[in-house]
Amino acid sequence: MTASERNKNLKIFAATGLFLFVILILDQVIKPTSSLSMLLTVLQKGSVYALAAVSMNLLNGFTGLFSLGHAGFMLIGAYTYAILTIPAAARDTVYQYYHAIVRFSIPETLSSFAGPLGTVIGVGIAVTIAGLVAALFAFLIGLPVLRLKSDYLAIATLGFAEIMRAICQWGKLGPLTNGSNLLKSFARISTFKLDLGGTTLSFSTFVPVFIATVCIGLIVLLVNSTYGRAFKAIRDDEIAAEAMGVNLAKHKMLSFCTSCFFAGIAGACMAMVLSIAQASNFKSAMTYEILLMVVLGGIGSITGSVIGAMLFISASEWWLRGLDSGTFLGINAPGIFRNGFRLVVFSIIIMVVVLFFRQGIMGDKELPDAIQAFRTKRKMKAEAKAAAAAETPAAAEAPAAPDETPKGGA
């Protein structure tokens, strides 16, 4: 690694640390009653969707496998997380029609002998298991499905997601999944608090943002590793990749399972943020929303997916809220601005964005690279200007020079 690369990595680490610190501060400063509390909601939901979008981008954008099963894998993650963290005491009220078969909660068990730290570790373990279970399902479904290509793969994975939703609502699995009833009272973001002698530290925004940041960081590392390059080779030309020694079956499976692992974690975070887990939330419409974020941000750009997710969530949850509730930008027109109008405006905005940014907002570039390119361009322009300014007097001193060139050429 060269010095400049190390420098760049340090900068990225510092920026990430600073970002997380700012989130932690925001978490304490903004009270739930303030008008800015919407910002926290957006950050919570946005980070979850950003993780989901980046994991989908790993599959669709970097490996070229067009899969539409993300809602299904997020559902698996959300249910696994919820089942593993519902406190034992609350089991019977949650599973009111069934006899719950899982009767322990990982955070609770660990906190009984490690205190609050145990809860943190327990939640971490539950989130990881959520990802692993999703990856296991991905492996099993990937064995037959990954032989398919493009549209067929999309249809097969879409079908899988719908089947998962139906299975989770199936009465026979009630003791595990609570049938078509929702799962609740598990460890959610509002439970992440720390009492420091009077003042309470809240982590309700920090936790999902932190998990998403770590996971996206891992995906970035993966994409830039030798395996990430092999994925891109498969996307660009499968036949050439295979001929140059990339094992297609193995690498497609790796990419699929990794993507679904992070989708499962995103599902677990989603359950944390929404504080319920319900199969009917994870419709195929959710997959399309995530796909939209990926396309808006730019297929094959991780920062693009994050930007896309954040813009999408803040527009639909915050900025355009007024369109549904009567007043928007100070205009009070309850006749037009009522339920559903927001979606009309939102769809138009999306169409406009897609028309003007054909490749998505970032194309296939990453934000730091784009900034770097912009800087070099500006620098080169400035240098060219300086050089031109320096040349003008020189040219005036030597008027014979331009005459000689055509002669030499002839």
Binding site: L218, R229, D236, E242, M244, G245
Partner: protein
């Protein structure tokens, strides 16, 4: 001289079409062997069988004295197959490895229509070909525990680009290169896999005489530098006659002649295949 590649009775049948019919050939160590023939003679199909893209209907391919591909007519093909030696391999186990496995054994190829990874830089195109040599697993590559290996690979790719004369364009997109350099890059990419046997599918397609001459020189150079054995398909007869030690001629899937360039030039069957036989002859 050791046999690097041995093709024995290979038949490739697509339904009723026999693209390669009972082809047998040998490539010895250090040789440059050309496979020629009119359009549609089955040369590229033969390449695809050797590199594992197609599973042959019948026959055996050995690489460095070890059988890597073996098949006999199965299922529907059994009925369709009219070859005389269809029963020859039936008692042996079927071997049908994927192309990536064959590449890892030390056989690398280029393509007739250039197949570079379009969104990658020249450097990355060559670096990806080194991926199958990494000994580190998925997780350790993700957590950057393979730093030394990666550094060594990058170093070797840099050297390789220096040798093939592409180091000045290494950070450009592969598709932004002029045609001749794209061909050169494809060869460089194949070399990055550290092959013993290099298969070139029409390396001079679409090149002008001067570029062809440069390529001829280049192929000779890399053969000596990397101790390669080369099997190539080509239509430019100047190039073929110039560099090949031996030539195999295919016509309608069948081997019609083999020998040194002089023998081939004077072979009546070859001349007939290329120019056609007069009706009144």
């Amino acid at each position: 001289m050791a046999k690097v590649l041995e093709v024995e009775n290979v038949t490739m049948q697509f339904g009723g079409v026999v693209a390669v019919n009972n082809l047998s050939m040998v490539v010895n160590e250090g040789e440059i062997v050309a496979l020629i023939g009119p359009n549609g003679a089955g040369k590229t199909t033969a390449f695809n069988v050797i590199t594992g893209v197609y599973q042959p209907t019948n026959g055996r391919v050995a690489f460095r004295e070890e059988t890597i591909i073996r098949n006999h007519p199965q299922g529907k093909m059994k009925k369709l197959y009219k070859g005389e030696i269809g029963e020859y391999y039936t008692k042996e186990r079927v071997l049908a490895p994927t192309p990536d496995y064959i590449t890892s054994l030390g056989m690398a190829r280029t393509f007739q229509n250039i197949r570079l990874w379009k969104t990658q830089t020249v450097f990355d195109n060559v670096l990806i070909a080194k991926h199958h040599q990494s000994r580190h697993g998925f997780i350790s590559a993700m957590l950057r525990l393979n730093r030394d290996e990666e550094k060594a690979q990058r170093e070797r790719v840099r050297d390789l680009l220096e040798i093939v004369g592409l180091s000045d364009v290494q950070n450009e997109l592969a598709t932004s290169l002029p045609y001749g350099k794209q061909r050169r890059l494809e060869i460089a990419r194949a070399l990055a896999a550290d092959p013993k046997l290099l298969l070139l599918d029409e390396p001079a397609a679409g090149m002008n005489p001067q570029e062809t001459e440069e390529l001829t020189e280049f192929i000779g150079e890399i053969r000596d530098k990397f101790h390669l054995t080369i099997l190539l398909i080509e239509h430019h007869m100047d190039l073929v006659m110039d560099i090949s030690d031996r030539i195999y001629v295919l016509d309608f899937g069948k081997l019609i002649a083999d020998g040194t360039p002089e023998q081939i030039q004077n072979n009546q069957r070859v001349i007939d295949a290329y120019l056609g036989v007069a009706d009144d002859a």
